[in-house]
Amino acid sequence: MVRVDGIADERSLIQVRDLDKTYKRGGEEIHVLQGLNLNVGKGEFVAFMGPSGSGKTTLLNLLGGLDVPTRGSITVDGDEITNMSAGNLTSWRARHVGFIFQMYNLIPVLNAFQNVELPLLLTKLSKAERRSHVETALSVVGLSDRMKHFPRQLSGGQEQRVTIARAIVSDPTFLLCDEPTGDLDRKSADDVMALIEELVNKYHKTVLMVTHDALVAERAHTTLHLDKGVLVEGRRSQVTSIVGGVA
């Protein structure tokens, strides 16, 4: 279940409370997010939509522990990440978050297998165990036959699927997708979205996705609209309340 009314829900995987994010540019303060509340249950697939500058990516970065809020708290699976040191936050990201970026962000000098293996190099898994995990992840995304291919030898859709394999290989608590189809043609975008849906429906992954594309957003369980840092609208099922912040 997804809530944006700030009411505590013990069953939520992700709980965001009174979240503010303010940037200083020159002498001016820019309030990107203000008083934002969000509860996301396990296995949910949430899409965030909104115009450029509305704070979608900032929210995603905060949820993924890539940035720290000015005020408020984020709790994931019982861990309040807003109180963590930078070092602990890095370790937390390695264990709990899978990132899928718009531009794929694969390492060009590593092949598909090596790219997917990157998060596992931080674990104590043996070489054989790492191999097994990587092969499984690449098989889930349908690229078992492209393991030795380098990013330049793959299509955009295939590159994004390698990114998805990298995001799921360490079995993270949730996935964050920043415009995962933004750089793809419609056919490839459909394939990637089908894969993300499969991760949610078959493997019960929790996915939070930022997108500009209404067609892509429709495939999520819930769509939340952000405008100037405020959640203003929800769609489809289970949004129990919409609470906006200060504009």
């Binding site: 970065n61 940035d67 890095t90 990201r93 390695a94 531009m103």
Partner: protein, 382 residues
Amino acid sequence: MKFSRIIFANLFRTKVRLLLTIGSFAVALFLFVFLAVVRDAFGRGADVAGADRLVIINRTSIINLIPLSYRDKILRIPGVKYVTHNNWFGGIYQDEKNFFPQFVIDPDNQRQVFPELIVPEDQWAAFVKDRQGAIAGAATAERFHWKIGDRIPIKTTLYGGGSWEFNLVGIYHGKRPQDDETQFWFQWDYFEEKIPQAIKGQIGWYVLRVDNPDDSPRIAKTIDDEFANSPNETKTQTESAFAANWVKQFGNIQFLIVSIGAVVFFTLLLVTGNTMAISVRERTSELAVFKAIGYSDRAILFFVLAESLVIALFGGVLGMLSAILLIPVLGKAMSGLLPSMVLSPTMLLFGLITAVLVGLASGLLPGLNAMHMRVVTALRRV
């Protein structure tokens, strides 16, 4: 190590740049070690000097002569064990560029004062018997392909002109690798016979051995006091001090070489540092991905430093191999112009340590920048 693949994959992403950087590193490090060897060679005189040897020169200057008659007075000073004397001949063998030092020696005492320079007994006996006999250092004999029995003509530039003829009757070797094997010795009697009357009985400098090196300051003072207020006052010093002063005649060689070495070192630092800075800047977003997926700041610093260190080690080893191959060749080519050049294991170790230090230092700044970059900012760069 499981991260080595990442490090090497990044290194080889621009092969031409990598090769050029390693090449420039190797050349610079070779030059650095070569300068260190030259510096060492200039200081060699002081290093090979006997701790129990003193050198007496004319107080005015080494080019002023001293009477041979001083020898007996010197020998009477308590603590003095042996005394020998030398003159600088300064002749030319075939061509001016064929320089090597030629010394007039005193056959009676030469070997007692310089026991580290070895002449086989039969050759020494032949030398003593032959007034025109000469002994060459092994390096000089090899340089001019001389063999025992050869007749060596040397044109004098200081003693009236003309060519002096010598019979090569012996070849000496040093006991230690650093001993000078470029000298050419011939007999005092032959020299004394041929020089103009005005300078007969005058020697260039005395070298003496003392019983106890601890007595050297006292003996030196006694000698100089003995000849004070005479027409030829003396200056007595340890052989190492004499060698150091000799080198100073060429200017401050040490300072010059250290300065050039420092410039080479600094240039090396800039070249490698620039390569690493470009390399890091080019893949800012990739490094941000590493951080996003859980690689710590220290891991990022480690990657950059490791890459820089690998470049330095490849370049360093290549530079050291070049030094091992080329310095003996250069040493031979410059034999006579420079003191003997020896590339010691210590020097190689020094070169490798320099390489490691440059590698770490050049990677440090780009590494720290990568370490401290904000992921969200860096991810926006494509």
